[in-house]
């Protein structure tokens, strides 16, 4: 199990009183305190790490969140915010003495302004829920993490989530206009608003990707965009991972920015085809999904140029989607890819390192060698255009030695990413998973400066304190 801060005995001893106190703040069904029913809240999308919390509270309004935060602050209780619980880095992993604040009941769209192209939604609205709310009017919300069906916008803000189409449209930070949030002591704050670039310091920039450690986000104002005229996906299949990696670099290097440029290797192609029946090339070692958009003429022009580049890399096959249904199936397979790997392996660890695209071929080759050396299979499915790798290390959680091997393998991959000039995480966040690798990326001085930012918002380190930073015995420290 992963190391956690020592539970506060004073809090553990007052468990019943704390639960009774919470019951006064939210509707009856919104507090879970019995051990049996707390169990499903012990983990998120990274189920290898688990810890049953002290209690779960499910507020329905920002005011209720504020009341809960003020109460926990008074009582000295640690708080772990949670959205849909889809984090792949253990961002919502509780601590034994913590109250999990689940925001999934805050799932209403509050306002849509088509004239100024923005929407105000509660933190528990799913990512795809925003697009669904505006698509009839011809709009969409651009960042599209693969878990977009389930993951919630509050979590997207806290992890600065990306997605396949971020190559063209940017990540969450580039599509965010404002936030309503609750501070650790229960104050409600608004930052930004329905306009570009708020006055003063870039608080939005600071909050985005803060992994639930600075405040609890309850409402989000996002930019919505006009849907493109049309889009088409191309499947280009290659004889080796390294060849597909080199092709990605050639496309990006030529100055073409497709809306999406995704990579899948052989194990991933097979697992996803079994789920989505998208007509993926089962005879290839690697495949790229390349999507372009615009008018038919624009699409044709771009696809021709991309096809020319692909042809230089001795492709196994190149196929362009012929219908909306086919495109839908192609993306269904890609978006369900992590889950689909569940068909070929009982468990996986999903890495999230980002590297310069010029190093793709080399890093894919090295990952292959490392996989052979440690005896654990890898499926590669990732946002190739951004150089955002997602090697899925397959292991058997019922075999502890297999899990430890996977953890070590994962750490080696991430160290490699940093070594070639990349970073530990592209879009999943550090969470608990990459916490102890932060020292590979940052010096102790750099880490200390980051801790001071945390301390400025949360001097007692009550808000999600076990994430992002390597645990230190002398924590917490004042700013």
């Amino acid at each position: 199990m992963i190391a956690q801060p020592e539970p506060k005995q004073a809090v553990m001893a007052r468990r019943d009183a704390i639960i009774a106190g919470l019951r006064k703040l939210v509707p009856e069904t919104g507090v879970i305190g019995d051990p049996l029913r707390l169990k499903p809240y012990e983990t998120d999308g990274l189920s290898a790490y688990r810890q049953v919390p002290l209690a779960v509270v499910l507020p329905e309004t920002t005011e209720q969140v504020a009341a809960v935060m003020a109460f926990c602050h008074r009582e000295g209780v640690r708080v772990v915010p949670r959205g849909a619980g889809t984090s792949l880095s253990g961002g919502a992993l509780p601590m034994a003495d913590s109250v999990v604040v689940g925001l999934m009941r805050m799932n209403r769209i509050l306002d849509i302004d088509y004239a100024d192209r923005c929407a105000v939604v509660q933190a528990g609205v799913t990512n795809i829920g925003i697009t669904q709310a505006v698509q009839a009017e011809g709009f969409f919300y651009a960042p599209d993490p693969s878990s977009q069906l389930a993951c919630m916008i509050g979590g997207n803000v806290n992890m600065n989530s990306g997605g396949a189409h971020c190559l063209r449209y940017g990540v969450t930070a580039n599509n965010l206009l404002g936030l309503r949030m609750v501070t650790v002591d229960g104050e409600i704050l608004d930052i930004g608003g329905a306009h570009l670039d708020a006055a003063g310091y870039d608080w939005l920039g600071l909050m985005t990707g803060s992994e639930g450690m600075l405040a609890v986000v309850t409402e989000v104002t996002v930019r919505i965009l006009r849907s493109p005229e049309g889009a088409r996906a191309m499947l280009a299949a290659f004889k080796a991972n390294e060849i597909a990696g080199a092709c990605v670099d050639a496309i990006i290097g030529s100055g073409i920015i497709p809306v999406a440029l995704e990579f899948m290797d052989r194990p991933a192609i097979h697992a996803c085809e079994a789920f989505a029946h998208a007509g993926y090339p089962l005879d290839a070692e690697a495949m790229l999904i390349i999507e372009v958009e615009g008018s038919i003429a624009e699409q044709d022009y771009m696809l021709d140029r991309i096809r020319d580049i692909c042809n230089r890399f001795d492709p196994v096959s190149i196929k362009v989607s012929q219908s909306a249904e086919e495109s839908l199936a192609i993306w269904k397979g890609r978006k369900g890819a992590f889950g689909a790997v569940g068909r070929i392996s009982p468990d996986y660890l999903c890495m999230d390192g980002t590297i310069p695209t010029s190093r793709l071929a080399e890093v894919l080759g090295r990952i292959g060698e490392m996989s052979a050396a440690c005896g654990l299979q890898v499926a590669n499915i990732f946002h190739a255009g951004d150089g955002n790798l997602h090697p899925l290390i397959m292991f058997d959680a019922n075999d502890p030695s297999s899990f430890h091997k996977a953890e070590r393998f994962g750490a080696d991959i991430l160290k490699l990413c940093v070594e070639v000039g990349g970073c530990l995480t592209g879009e999943h966040g550090v969470g608990v998973e990459k916490r102890d690798l932060m020292g590979v990326q940052f010096s102790e001085i750099e880490l200390e400066q980051q801790r001071r930012v945390k301390s400025a918002f949360d001097p007692q380190w009550l808000l999600n304190p076990s994430k992002v930073f390597p645990l230190k015995p002398e924590l917490p420290r004042a700013a």
């Binding site: 069904t29 879970i32 019995d34 049996l36 029913r37 169990k39 499903p40 809240y41 983990t43 998120d44 999308g45 189920s47 290898a48 499910l58 849909a84 619980g85 889809t86 689940g102 999934m104 009941r105 799932n107 528990g124 799913t126 795809i128 878990s147 069906l149 389930a150 993951c151 079994a274 789920f275 369900g336 890819a337 992590f338 889950g339 689909a340 790997v341 569940g342 068909r343 009982p346 468990d347 996986y348 959680a397 019922n398």
Partner: protein
């Protein structure tokens, strides 16, 4: 996902199957988003992933089921929307069915709950008793107002009375086992699951099915000895009665297969179809002869829309100028993955077909769910009717009597798709439906 069973636990074949299902789950959480109860209640415990976790814990510890766990498993509609969404291929249906049997064996429900379940299990699958009970309910309806406004029991009784149709049709002659010969040259021979509750609530469905099939040259047998498919008891965790019903059907249809032969077993109530198609799994532990029969019958079973698609349906009347809101029953779209066939047939028959938004979400009927969990069922019904009304359709068509009963009583008429298909191919118009263009 990691599991924690001992070798001794895994020697139990049912636990072993549960373990395999649990190990397929990677805890990604995609299923939560398309689960009707999670969408309404916003609690992990009322999502498929949460229930899977509760079931896992219950089975691993071997603890008897507790009130807290039962509450959340009971709230599951078994709509199987999660199985459509799951990228990993987790067989949630087999897991939750096993959990229900486990609950039935280890948990004593409150008296009123037990009483209601016993009544439902005894009455619904028996057409004679059900007809009698519905006539009684009709008489009792005016007394619904006398029920206390709050309380689980009062709410359930109110739901029970509300669902009883205003008029109970008399028994149809097709309830009697018989063979209905093909008109003209015979091109096939099928058995029809005449069912239990459906033939009482709406005998027109079986009548239309038989009319259309025989007119298309298919001999239709209502086999002697076949009856309720067992789904009702199965979903309440009543293992033995469910297996007895299924075994009776297997025996009856096997006699037909061995006799004059069967090309297919046709089901026009998709809730039942999902169960009959699962007979192979249900009898996986039976003696080899019975197991083989069960597998054969499961493989022969088709929803009426699948069969019509195969033999080729063509209308004989001009298009009626009506727009139909096609309501996809969960058992059909998620349980059997029959998604396009009914819509294709309705379009072929000359109807304009519209689909409501959030078509993947259950209407709240879910077998006996609307009797057991009236509050959630009522909210889901309202939500479904809102999205159906927004389509601007003239009527609702569905392939499952449960949904039809649940959605009835609103301004829009509700019919079974087969009634529309039969009408356009020469049969009578369904009650209350008239063409617009005529």
């Amino acid at each position: 996902m990691q599991t924690n069973f001992t070798d001794a636990q895994l020697r139990d074949p049912d636990t072993s199957v549960a373990n395999q299902i649990l190990r397929t789950c990677v805890h990604c959480g995609f299923c939560t988003a398309t689960c009707p109860t999670f969408v309404l209640l916003g609690d992990e415990l009322d999502s498929p992933r949460g229930r899977i976790y509760l079931i896992k814990d219950m089975l691993e510890t071997g603890r008897p089921a507790t009130e807290e766990v039962v509450r959340h498993i009971d709230r599951c509609l078994s709509c199987l929307s999660c199985m459509t969404t799951c990228p990993s291929g987790v067989h949630y249906m087999h897991l939750v069915d096993h959990a229900r049997t486990y609950i039935e064996a280890t948990y004593t429900r409150p008296l009123h709950d037990r009483a209601l379940r016993a009544v439902i299990a005894a009455v619904l699958p028996r057409p004679g008793l059900l007809r009698l009970a519905l006539r009684g309910a009709k008489l009792a309806r005016p007394f619904a107002r006398a029920l206390p406004r709050k309380g689980v029991l009062a709410n359930r009784l109110r739901a029970l009375l509300k669902l009883a149709p205003a008029s109970v049709p008399p028994a149809s002659p097709i309830e009697i086992p018989a063979s209905h010969p093909a008109v003209g040259t015979r091109r096939g021979r099928v058995a029809l699951l005449a069912g239990c509750a459906q033939q009482v609530l709406d005998p027109a469905i079986n009548e239309a099915t038989i009319r259309l099939l025989t007119r298309m040259g298919v001999e239709v047998v209502v086999a002697d000895g076949a009856g309720c498919c067992g789904a009702l008891a199965h979903h309440m965790g009543r293992h033995d009665p469910a297996m007895a019903s299924a075994a009776a059907n297997i025996a009856a249809w096997s006699r037909e297969i061995d006799g004059a032969g069967l090309d297919a077993i046709i089901v026009n109530t998709s809730g039942c179809g999902t169960t009959v198609k699962d007979y192979g799994f249900m009898f996986r532990g039976a003696e080899p002869g019975l197991r083989a029969q069960a597998e054969k019958i499961a493989a022969l079973t088709l929803d009426i829309s699948e069969y019509l698609g195969r033999i080729g349906y063509a209308p004989t009347r001009p298009a009626p100028g009506l727009t139909v809101a096609y309501h996809a029953a969960c058992s059909l779209q998620h349980g059997q993955k029959v998604v396009n066939e009914p819509k294709t047939l309705l379009r072929k028959a000359g109807f304009v077909v519209k689909e409501p938004a959030d078509g993947h979400l259950c209407c709240g009927s879910a077998g006996t769910y609307n009797l057991m969990q009236p509050e959630i069922a009522t909210r889901l019904r309202a939500r479904k009717l809102d999205t159906i009304r927004a389509t601007g359709a003239d009527l609702i068509a569905a392939g499952n009597i449960g949904c039809m009963t649940q959605l009835a009583g609103d301004a829009m008429p509700v019919v079974h798709s087969i009634e529309l298909l039969d009408w356009m191919a020469g049969g009578p118009a369904p009650e209350g439906i008239t063409p617009k263009s005529a």
